[in-house]
Amino acid sequence: MSDAPLEIQLKGLSRRFHEGAREHVVLDGVDLDIRRGETVALRGRSGSGKSTLLNLIAAIDAPDAGSVTVAGIDLTGLSERERTLFRREHIGFVYQSFNLVPTLNVADNVRLVLELNKVPPSQASTRINELLESVGLADRADSYPDVLSGGEQQRIAIARALAHEPAVLLADEPTGNLDDATAGSVLGLLDTLVRDSGHTMLIATHSQHVASHCDRVLELHNGRIAATAAR
């Protein structure tokens, strides 16, 4: 793994938020290297900056200082449109609350990112079938999100996140809304799919159990990475 090229590189990353006259330093000069294919857990208390860090890596947010390089692309100075196109191509998301599009059925939720990435329809259909097969929901392709269980919705969200083969998969408390048994199964699936496809994954989580599946665990405290532990 140490020979693999760098997929995510953060240098002196800082992000502050203002609330009236008060300033909250959420990230304070974070340096971090994550190599391709590595799975990393990001732990920390609520408000420690986990989601902010994910937003910066996903180009959803921009830093006040420092730089973010993902898949060899320096995100600093990208325009809003360029950041959107970067995210479309290189980032996959898995959210705690799934965030499936309620007006689209399961297959179309996955198709959405493929279409955005201009994957030809025939290839897209093949890819959707593969992914739904791999998450065990091939028979629910025509179902709408509202009739699926939480675990099923999260499986679809994982399929959607991986559909366009992104460089980096970002997951924010992916099992936070699931019971233990379902969480275990979803986590197992995520782990398998990410490792099989060689994606880089960064998971923000409170859970020790979730973190234990990752190659490395980072602890965010007071806006800095306080500790790292390798599995």
Binding site: S51, L54, N55, A58, I60, D61, E80, R81, T84, L85, R87, R88, E89, F93, Y95, Q96, S97, N99, V101, P102, T103, L104, D108, R111, L112, V113, E115, L116, N117, Y144, P145, D146, V147, R160, D172, E173, G176
Partner: protein, 841 residues
């Protein structure tokens, strides 16, 4: 102290100011339109009644005669031979001064104290200190002296002693203002008072009175019987208030139609309020769930939502009333102009603020808000504590309700049809049927949306990919939000289709009718009064004039109201100008010319249920007489009072040989313009006549027709404005509701343009579906307006003509309005921050 639950609820509204503002505007505009129309109608009516009351004074009854009025000697005989003193003669006419029409009253000052006070109270500054006698003297010995109210003098910039020009009976006269009387109410605005002899001379009616005003103490039946028995044939004693009422009622159908249009705006506003309250309840389902979990009872929850809607409705209604008063000022001008053109002269400068109209507006606003809130409030009380409904289950409920709602809609439409069938010619029932029809149809729209969006979705997918499909599918899958907005826009657009088809068909029918009716090449005559007999002869002798027809419009009256006689003397070649509807012209015309037979206009026939073969009784100068109805003729007169009578028949029954207009038939090859120029030269120093060619008269008639519908245009544009706000409100609410979804799409890589484009496409689909849904309702509404409402209100028989242009423009308009309303929500959706998707609720 406001309970904390109410504060929780209100603070939601305050934190969504645009939603609050749009609800406010929706209710406010709806209320404003109702109040404005009501105030304009009431002000015009009140001004007319005030003016009539002021002129009538203390008179309880009036003696009236035939078309020329009452012979002056009747008054003399009543006073001298029968010793009846509580009577006052009056002659009334309309004159023009400074391009404004004025009522000219001719009175006998000696008799006035019995009936009116203002006529004797006139003073000039130097008369205040002297006696009343100087005014008496002026009236008696100085020709052309007049008095007027201080307000009227001020409106015309006149002072006591000023001389000014007037036109009476087509002739220029000079009047001198000798005194003023006070009239703070404005009831006597644009009324000029002169001595009876002066007015008779000016109006060319020497020896005639318009009527004799009578004051009989209440309950004095002996005096009443004595007076009636003293009256000669051809005169009648009628109640003064009854005459005023029946004149005012002539405009009732017009005013009822305007009120119905204003209610339409409120109906659309009702959908809008329902939309707003519905959203605000649905979006607070979590809060409601928590409040229920904390112990709020269903009753408390219901009252919380209703109180909130009531307060919102009351505040918006107050603003609506203020707006309505301002709008009423604008509408008043249009309403009074139409009444002046079509019914009777009314002078009204300011809108009078009627408490009843204001209360009606407030009740409409609060009531509409409460009715609209009741359904979502009842829905909200069914939520289980802490188990706030998810969006999907809400939509599931909405979709499940569609068949039931459609069924109710169908029942309402059937009820509308039944109401039309069983209500005879009742106008109010007809209007109620229109509203039932609209409501019923509105309830069927969600089903239409559900099926049509399912049909369009695959096409959208092929055309614009998954985002287009999402846009289309989103319309049906968000039915709880989009449904009401589509209904509001569809109802508003269908109203424009209905009214446009009605006006277009009406215009077409009137245009055809004018084409047929106007057979002469040139028309000339006086607006009011009679043409000079020698002038008629001179016109007949003009080179290039082959033949002419004469016309006299005469009003006859009895206790049932007023009827207009149109008396014609015309060459047989121009018979084709009158379209006879229920008789063979070969038989009907000879009967009309020779016997006591008349033709009745289609509106008259409808309102009085008569036709060929019927017999009608009319007051004549020799008492009531029966006339055979030889045929009905096509006519679009507004008063449902037209009777066509031949000059010969008229001469046998009425002591009146006057003519008010001529139709000239020219020698072949002679240009109408040549004769128009010759007539202008001939009449210049003789009598002022209107002189128009056939083509100009047709154009002028259609111009007046178009002016009459200006107010209708304004009302339906306001209705559309309300619907536009509905779409804007719905799209903004939807955007708020779907903020996370849009943020997710942005996080997944959709650009702001793509997200905005999706919303724009969605509003376009909403517009398209609204437009398509509005077409059948618009056509049905047009049919009801033409065949039921206009028929019942005015008796008009209009051929319905559906113009494809109107339908295409309306659908295009619906799409355009929706797209416009969607621009801002689309922009806002495009600005959705992807970070929101990361944040947990």
């Amino acid at each position: 102290m406001i309970p904390v639950t109410y504060r929780a609820s209100f603070s939601y509204l305050l934190r969504h100011p645009w939603q609050l503002a749009l609800s406010f505007i929706g209710i406010g505009v709806g209320v404003a339109v109702i109040v404005a129309v009501d105030l304009a109608n009431a002000s015009a009516r009140k001004a007319f009644l005030l003016s009539m009351d002021a002129i009538t004074g203390a008179a309880t009854h009036q003696i009236i005669g035939g078309p020329r009025g009452v012979p002056e000697d009747v008054y003399t005989r009543l006073r001298v031979e029968h010793g009846i003193v509580s009577i006052a003669p009056i002659i009334e006419g309309t004159i023009e001064s400074d391009n404004t029409s004025l009522t000219l009253l001719g009175i006998d000052l000696f008799a006035e104290q019995q009936v009116r006070s203002f006529t004797g109270e006139a003073r000039s500054d130097d008369q205040v200190a002297s006696s009343d006698e100087s005014l008496f003297t002026d009236f008696l010995i100085t020709p052309g002296v007049v008095t007027a109210s201080e307000r009227t003098a001020s409106q015309f910039g006149l002072r006591v002693g000023d001389r000014f020009e007037i036109t009476a009976d087509g002739r220029q006269q000079t009047a001198e203002l000798v005194a003023l009387f006070a009239d703070d109410s404005g009831a006597l605005d644009q009324v000029i008072v002169a001595d009876i002899a002066t007015v008779q001379e000016w109006l060319g009616r020497t020896g005639w009175l318009s009527r004799i005003d009578v004051r009989i103490p209440d309950g004095d039946d002996t005096a009443l019987v004595a007076l009636e028995s003293a009256l000669p044939d051809g005169t009648q004693l009628l109640s003064a208030s009854g005459r005023t009422r029946s004149t005012a009622e002539m405009s009732q159908a017009f005013m009822t139609n305007l009120s119905a249009m204003s209610l339409l705006a409120l109906l659309v506003g009702l959908f809008l309020i329902f939309n707003s309250v519905n959203f605000s309840v649905l979006q607070r389902r979590k809060l409601i769930g928590v409040l229920r979990a904390l112990g709020l009872t269903r009753r408390q929850l219901l009252s919380m939502i209703l109180v909130e809607a009531g307060v919102l409705g009351a505040l918006a209604a107050v603003v609506g009333v203020i707006l309505g008063i301002a709008l009423g000022e604008q509408l008043l001008d249009l309403v009074s102009r139409t009444i002046n053109n079509l019914y009777f002269r009314v002078s009204v400068s300011n809108v009078s603020i009627e408490t009843f109209s204001i209360v009606k507006g407030l009740i409409a606003g609060v009531g509409a808000a409460l009715v609209a809130a009741a359904f979502p409030a009842l829905e909200a009380t069914s939520y289980q504590p802490r188990l706030a409904l998810t969006r999907s289950s809400l939509e599931h409920r909405a979709r499940n309700a569609v068949p039931k709602v459609t069924l109710i809609g169908l029942v309402l439409m059937v009820a509308a049809a039944v109401l039309i069938l069983v209500s005879g010619n009742n106008l109010v029932a007809g209007l109620a049927a229109v509203f039932l029809l609209i409501l019923g149809f509105a309830l069927c729209v969600p089903l239409f949306v559900k099926f049509s969006s399912a049909l369009i979705a695959p096409l959208a997918d092929r055309l614009g990919g998954i985002s287009m499909r999402m846009a289309v599918a989103g319309v049906a899958s968000s039915l709880s939000r989009t449904g009401v907005a589509i209904v509001a826009l569809a109802v508003a657009v269908s109203a424009t289709i209905g009214v446009s088809i009605m006006v277009d068909s009406f215009r077409g029918s009137v245009s055809e009718w004018l084409e047929q009716t106007l057979q002469a090449d040139v028309y000339t005559g006086v607006q009011r009064g009679a043409m000079d007999a020698a002038l008629i002869q001179a016109i007949r002798n003009l080179d290039g004039v082959e033949d002419l027809s004469t016309r006299k419009r005469a009003w006859i009256e009895d206790a049932n109201g007023r009827t207009q006689l149109r008396v014609f003397d015309m060459p047989p070649e121009s018979y084709v100008g009158a379209e006879l509807l229920d008789a063979d012209p070969a038989e009907a015309w000879p009967a009309w010319e020779a016997n006591d037979a008349v033709f009745v206009s289609e509106p008259y026939a409808y309102q009085n249920d008569v036709g060929a073969g019927s017999t009608i009784t009319l007051p004549t100068d020799h008492g009531p007489r029966s006339f055979a109805v030889a045929a009905r003729f096509q006519s679009y007169d507004i008063n449902a009072s037209g009777i066509m009578m031949s000059r010969a028949t008229y001469a046998r029954h009425y002591d009146d040989d006057s003519v008010d207009s001529l139709g000239l038939y020219l020698v072949e090859g002679v240009e109408a313009d040549t004769i128009v120029a010759a007539l202008e030269t001939l009449t210049e120093n003789w009598q002022r006549l209107y002189i128009v060619s056939n083509a100009s008269l047709r154009q002028a008639s259609l111009r007046i027709f178009d002016q009459t519908f200006v107010i209708t245009d304004i009302l339906y544009w306001l209705t559309l404005a309300v619907a536009f706000i509905g779409i804007l409100s719905a799209m903004l609410a939807l955007q708020l509701e779907r903020a996370r979804e849009f943020a997710t799409l942005r996080a997944l890589g959709m650009t702001p343009t793509q997200v905005g484009g999706m919303i724009t496409a969605q509003t376009g689909v909403i517009g398209l579906l609204s437009g398509l849904a509005s077409v059948p309702l618009g056509i049905v509404m047009a049919w009801v307006l033409i065949k039921v409402i206009n028929r019942r209100a005015f008796g008009w028989q209009i051929d319905m003509n559906i113009s494809v242009d109107i339908l295409a423009v309306s659908v295009g308009f619906a799409i355009g309005a929706a797209l416009l309303a969607g621009l801002y929500p689309a922009w806002r959706a495009g600005q959705a921050q992807p970070a929101i998707a990361m944040r947990e609720e």
